[in-house]
Structures are given as C-alpha cells and as structure tokens.
Symmetry: C2
Subunit: 547 residues, 2 copies
Amino acid sequence: MDDPNFRKPSTDHTGPVTAGHMQSSLAHSNYSRTGLTTLKISPAFYFDVEIEGAPSDLRDAVAQSQYYLENDKLGRLVVGRGANDTTAFATAMTLSKLTLSLASRAAVEPISSEAVKPLGTRSEEYALNIPADGSAATLTANSTLGLYRGLTTFNQLFYYYGGPFRGLGLDTSRHYYPVSDIQRTLDAMSWVKINTFHWHITDSQSFPLEVAQYPELAINGAYSPQEVYTASDVQYIVKYAAARGIDVMMEIDTPGHTAIMAAAYPEYVACFEASPWAFFSGEPPAGQLRFALPEVTNFTASLLTNIAKTLPSHYFSTGGDEINKNCYADDYPTQQQLKRTGMTLNGALDTFTQTTHGALIVQGKTPVVWEEMALDWNITLSNETIVMVWISSADAAAVVEKGFRIIQAPSDYFYLDSGAGEWLGDNPTGSSGPFRTWSEAYTFDPLANLTEAQYELVLGGEQILWSEQSGPQNVDPIVWPRAASSAEIFWSGKQPTGAALNVTEALPRLHDVRYRMVQRGINAIPLQPQWCAFRPDACDMYAWFGT
Amino acid sequence: MDDPNFRKPSTDHTGPVTAGHMQSSLAHSNYSRTGLTTLKISPAFYFDVEIEGAPSDLRDAVAQSQYYLENDKLGRLVVGRGANDTTAFATAMTLSKLTLSLASRAAVEPISSEAVKPLGTRSEEYALNIPADGSAATLTANSTLGLYRGLTTFNQLFYYYGGPFRGLGLDTSRHYYPVSDIQRTLDAMSWVKINTFHWHITDSQSFPLEVAQYPELAINGAYSPQEVYTASDVQYIVKYAAARGIDVMMEIDTPGHTAIMAAAYPEYVACFEASPWAFFSGEPPAGQLRFALPEVTNFTASLLTNIAKTLPSHYFSTGGDEINKNCYADDYPTQQQLKRTGMTLNGALDTFTQTTHGALIVQGKTPVVWEEMALDWNITLSNETIVMVWISSADAAAVVEKGFRIIQAPSDYFYLDSGAGEWLGDNPTGSSGPFRTWSEAYTFDPLANLTEAQYELVLGGEQILWSEQSGPQNVDPIVWPRAASSAEIFWSGKQPTGAALNVTEALPRLHDVRYRMVQRGINAIPLQPQWCAFRPDACDMYAWFGT
C-alpha cells in the first residue's frame, strides 16, 4: 500500500449496511438496510478470517479483496471526484477490519466446490454488517460461496479518495544540506501535514548522492567527501520522513542538469564547462548527458533503477527540464550517432525517455517529469506519467489538455528562492522574480483555467527551494512558514475556480503555526510586526476601510 | 575623544620634523628639516610634561593642545579632503606621545612671566623633533614660552582624517532581539570593520528600553517583560561593541514612530490606534507624540537626555521621519494649544526640535535626524546636526545643499528588509521594493550628484534592517554578508563619482568573508552556488562574452 499518510483510502456510501442476498431458484428475496455515513478505511485494514481450515480459494479471494482495496483507485463518479466530501471526512470514523465467519454448523468447503453444486443447493446469501462507527464489521454466510459474494459487495463499497500531493521541494545540489537540516525540515513539514519530500538531490553543480553501483559519481561529483548523502543517510531520511507521514520522492534530473557527472563519466557529458556557459546552459556550469548515445541511455536507466529500487516511494522524478539544444549542435559523439541512425535529437530523447522510464516502471515506479517533457518535446510518455508544472501557472492547462496528471509547482506562486536577486557575479542590476509571500502563494488556485472534467488530473502541489542562494544557513527562514501555504491549499481540497482561500482568515492561524515553529527550534520568519500578530486584522490594509 | 575606532586622527605633513625658531631682536635665524611621511596620532596620544614644577599656564597650554587635537576637525585643504591618502595611511606609523622638556639649567617660569620680559631677553625658540617612525617625539626649549611656541607649531601639523561612518542599523522594536543576537551581530560587524551600531531601539509597536526615570515606558510598552533591554543590557552592549571598535548610536525616534508610548503616557500621544490607521500613520498602529504641548516637549527632552547621558557616543538620533499631519488635524489638545499660542504645526515642531536637540547638545551629543527634518519641515536645525538620507539616494544632494553633513542610508540601495514583500494582512498582491543584493548595494556611489566641495559633508553610510518581517530567526541571513557592501564602500573611501566599486573583483573576497562567517557561527546566506564560490568568474554573466 502507498504510504498510509499519503493516501486516504475510504469507504464511501457505506455506513450501517446490512445486505442479505437470498437467492433461490429465480425468486429474489432481498433484505437490506443502507446508509450514507462516510467511513475511512484504515491503512492497516485487514480481513479477519475466523474460519478453521479456511480453504485456499477463500484465502485467495480475501487476498484479492485486500489487493483491490489497496490498488483500486476509483474516484467517486461525481463532479470534483469527491472533493466536496471534506466535511464528511473530517468527522468520519475508521473501519479497521472486517471479520469473516461461517454460520455455526456450516460446512467448510472450497468456494470452487460450492460454486458447482446444483442450483437450489448452493448457498450464495450473506450478511454484511458495517456499523456506522466502523466497529465490529462482520461478513457472515452459510458457505464460502456466500462469503465470496459478500466480499464482492464489500469490494464495491469503497472509493479511492486520494489525499492530494502536498509537497515541499528541496535542491541539495547547489548547496549541500546536512542530514540534520533535512530532519529538521521534515519535522516542520509534518507539522503542516505536508506528505511529500521532493528531493532534487543532484544537479549540474554537485552530485551528493552515493550510488553503490556508481560510486565515482559522488566521489568525483560531490563538493567534498563530507557533502555526500550515503546510502544509509538516504535510508535514514526516508524512514525519518515516513514516520512523519512523508513520502520521499527523489529526483535525478536528466538529461539536463547533469554537468557534474562529467567528473566521473566525461564521455557521457556534452559541452561540459563550455564557454560562454549562457549559450549552452541555463546556469553555470554547462554540461548535459549525451542522451543520443545508447551507452548513455543504458547507463542512465541503470543509474535511475539502482537508485529508485532503494526507495519505497511509488514516485520517482527523472526531471527533464531545460534541455539546451545548443549543447548538442556541435557535439561530435551526438551528431555522429544521429547521423549513423538517422534519428533526430527529438527522436533520440524519445528513446532515452522511454528507456529510462520503462526501467522505472518495471520497478513499480511512476515517473514524474517537469513540464517541458510534455510541452516542448514530441515524445511519448506513459499515460501514468505525472508532470510537474513550474515555468508558469498558465502552463497547467496545456499539460492537462494532453491528459497528464499534474503537480502544481508554478514559479510565479510557489518558488521559495524567488526574490533573492541576481547571483551572477557581474550583473549587480540584474533582477529575478519577486519574493513570493505566504499570502501570494495562498491565493494560488490549483484549478484555474481547467474544466471540471480536468480537475481530477490535479494531484496537488508543492513549494520548492532551489538552492543557488540558500543553504543550511537560511533554509528555515526562507522556507517557513511560507511553505505552509501550499500545504493548506491542497489539504483543504481543490477549491472551485475563483474561490481563493481567504488570507485574512488564515493569517492568525499562520502566525500561530509560525510562533509554534519558533518554539520548536525552527527559525521561521515573522510575517508581521509582533504587535500585529497579537491583534488579528489590526494590520490589514483594507479591512478598516470597508473595501 | 571620539570612539578611537571611529575617528582616525592623524598628523599629516609631519615626519622627521625639526623646527628651531630662533628669534632675537628682528633677526630671524631658523633651522628646520621637514618631511612628508604620514603619521597617525594614537587615540591614546598624550603630552608627557617632564618638567618639575611645571607652571599652571604651561599645564593649561598643554591641555589646550590636547583639546585641539581631539576637537579640531580640519580636513586637508585639498580636493577630496585627503581621501586619497588611504595608501599613505595603510603604512603609517603611530605617534603616541610628545615629550616636553626644558633645556637643563633653564629656569622654570610661567609662560605669562616669560611673555612680558623685554625684547631680547625672551627665549621663544624651541626644537620640535618628530621622527618618521613616530617614536621618541620631543619638544624642547629654553623656556616655557619656547615650549608654548613649539606647541603652537605642533598644533598646526595635524589634520583631521575622520574615519567614515560605517554603520549597521537594526530596528529592535517591530521585533525584539535578545542581547545574544545583538552580540553575535556586533561580532560580525567587527569582522567587516563596521564602526557604528545604529540602534533604532524603539518605535510605535514596542518600547523595549528600560529608562530609569520613566520605567512605565518599558513596563507598558514592551512586548513582554522578557523583551526589554535593561539599563545593564544596554551598558553591556555598549561595552561589548566598543571593545570591537564599534560606537553605539542610539535612536529614539520622535515625535512620530511613538504610538506605544501611549501605553504609559496616553495624554502625550495623539491619534493612538486611530482607524483607519493608513490615514494617520505609515504603518499600524497610529499614534504620535503631541509635540505642540509644552509638557510633551519637556518630557521628550528629559527622556532623550536621560537615555543619552548613559551612552558614551557623541551621536544620538532623534529620528523625525514620517510625521503624519492628519494625526493632529482633529487632535483636540494639539489644536487647542496651537490656537492658544497662535503657532503653526510647523512652528511647534521647530520649538520641539530645538528644545530636544538643545538638551542633547548640552549633554555633548550631536543630534542625528532623518532627512524629512531637513527637507520637509521649515525648522531650524543646529549646523552640527547630521542628517540620514533614507527615502531615496536622490535626496542626498538636497540635504547637503542645505549644508548638513549626511549619512547615506538610501532605501534604494541599503535597506536590508526590502524584498520581503507586503506584510499587511489582506494585501496578498501588494509589492514592496526588490531585495537589494550585495552587489547592487556595492554599486552605490556615495558622492553621486554632489559637487567636490560637498564631498566632505558625506560622513559615511549604513545598511539597515527594519524588522517588520525580521527577528532573531533570520537576522543572520538577511544581514550577512550583504552588510559588508557598505562597510567596504566607506572603508575604501569616497569614490570619485561614477567610479563604482568593482563587483567582479569583490565577489571572491566576499565569498571568503561569508564562508568565514559561517565557520564562526553566523548564518550568512550563500551568494552563489558553491560551485561558483570555488571558481572566480566562472559564474559571471558577461565576462566570457567579453563585454
């Protein structure tokens, strides 16, 4: 099952349900009592089979039910896919088990034996009783066949109510963050119920991840031997996160954002440290994987597989943003390969992506990519691929138009690094985007410009800290409490378009969150003068004007 | 003497000087050897009078010389007032004392007796010997009158070479900073040779300063009893700063920025918490001293005096920014008083300012004010008043045009709080100025738009952190290493207009400063990805294009 804190599986349309199907000959005589009370199915839900010598096909049927429960992702067939059930969920009790038993004196026979008995002698009726408070749910019948029919009904009563993706992204390549800083960040994430740590662990500047099969990457690519996440560091962080309800979605950005891999595999990287860097790359140093080469594709697939299989998450990001074509225009190995195969650069990227994604899918991972992979290149992505929107909130519509599920990480609302100004060494008057305040982020409408039918494609969103100008020194104040904004947007469910959350209502609560964080050792920035924090609305601009 | 680290008094045009004036009758027979070696006069310089039974008028003359040395502020009469002597100063030795003695067997008589002896019998000649290395400087003569003449020459050899004001401003009212945070900030200031801590200690939101004579101000005006700087805290901070070469220039902002004084003295404050605040004040809460009332003027003069006299600095800021006239338009006590006296609001402010400044001047303090006092109001400020430019760098010219000395703290270059976005509670799309990067600050030209004759009026400058959205949690990353920019601008001397400092040259050094700060426990922000920090110029935008 997914991280239990990420999914919120639930029965819906259950409640005090007693369904007795009595079928004899062609006459149907049913008795049932149903209800509309919502119940949540516990992540630890199990079927308690209290039948001595239960036949193996009954056990199989139970296992199948468990599988359906964990893997069916059927949303409610209503507008918004159940997003309006938030209130019902808030008070819902939890169903922890269903006890299966046979009536006393019933014979314990395999389903397969019961199923072939002559009509009139089969016992298919069952009693499924699920009290509204979720306690003591039972399924009883006179035969294993009756239990099987009852299980089938049970398996039709639950709906997937996916907890939205509520993430925080952190880039640990431009600057390294010691494990303790990540732990502290995970603690704070858990306090605002963020459920995904999007770990952009490597980039062009450093490769701080120890990979058992490819040790040279970190040995040659990390800033220093101390600035490495060892395999055990990663496992520690994953477990630390999981214990706090947080799934770790790692990203190994490819084929761009990989320059430093040249330190270990120079033959795999084009235009490494080419000059002027701005022609070849979004930022220094230049350098991208030679994805047209089969050996690079195979290496990358193997690298991603080796990393992904150590991680429990269902999700793994392969990046795919900002691939610079100039890098390959004069790259001899790339051009030679394209000429030899008659492929275009686009075609080569398609092959590369399908190969690397295929390897991840084999590992049970859902590939996650940045928006350019869906919008800028003509390549085939698996329908399951999740696309992260970053360049602009305006791009979400184009991505969902292609049918992909998206994670909203738009730079114009959610980039935590924005506003720190130009960092290039000789451009003192250069500008960068403005600082995105908590309240600006809070006004983000995740469903803007989408049709109702597309709403279900919005999985959630995240704020993200790119670390060109950040490190352990400022991670707390630059992230907190701002990152609580998206956490609340996606916890509160998708808002109908146009109904932005109310910043005035949220501010006192966010002050509370922030002061509590400070008490717990997080250096979260103040949002207003302390005078204001103690006086809700006294520091509003418009409230007192009545506008 | 001023804080020895603030002033750098110096002899100039001294060096190995031996000047013997032998005057007899009308015949002048002089012997002198002069040099151009620059010497610095030690802050601890003293006259060592090795004369048994030295007469009191010689002692007075020596005291007078000491006074001149400490108080003459004559700059060199050259373009730039000696700003180009930086190189000479870098290698200059220090003169620590001048030993005065009489030739053996000379009679020890008062100057006043020697001075009235008949011509031909007076001994006015002396020998003043100041070696180029500053050691063993001597003044010898045959009479006290000769010594007096020699002292006079000595008193003409030194020039004031004021070390520029290199400050850091911190607002401790919008949020309180524990003493330990201020200590840590002072440590970092000392590492970049900042010489003034401009302590904006109180404002409208809280009054965290314990004043012995007015304890209610802190008791009722601090955020909490724990968020108070006690008298001993202040003394501790002042001494801690002084030991690190830092003068503490405190600011009690008046008559605006005083709302919270109403918590102790409601009758002294107009429009307290009036609504809508934006009509009455730059930010909430509204409230300003009723400066037209004599009792408020007297109270303020007494308050400032009581605070200032506990502080060793020669400088004390009375603020004076952002006085809002609407606050007084319907304020009954103010209007009644203006009517009774026939005064205008401007006239009342003039009286208030002259009274409060007069009280400070009596305490030996030089008043410092914000630019509005010089530009927006028609009031009489003492010529000694120092004016801080903040609204815009463009305002400096207008202030020096009025003959005032200025400290450059322009918000468009030096405001460290800029870029944090709108903090009002209901204005999520509101903007504030951009973040001022270290390099943008570094391009500030302190002499822009001034004439050469006005250059001497620029005392220096400071970067400043207003604390609406800052506190102990982010003081390190929001201040450091950015505040090093102004420190270097003013340490390096006033640059000729147009010759901005070179950011490309400075960046590697600033990286070094920043990484060293981090080693010492200051959470200074990274300026670039670490990859860049290790590779000077590799992350320049234009360098590789050759533009």
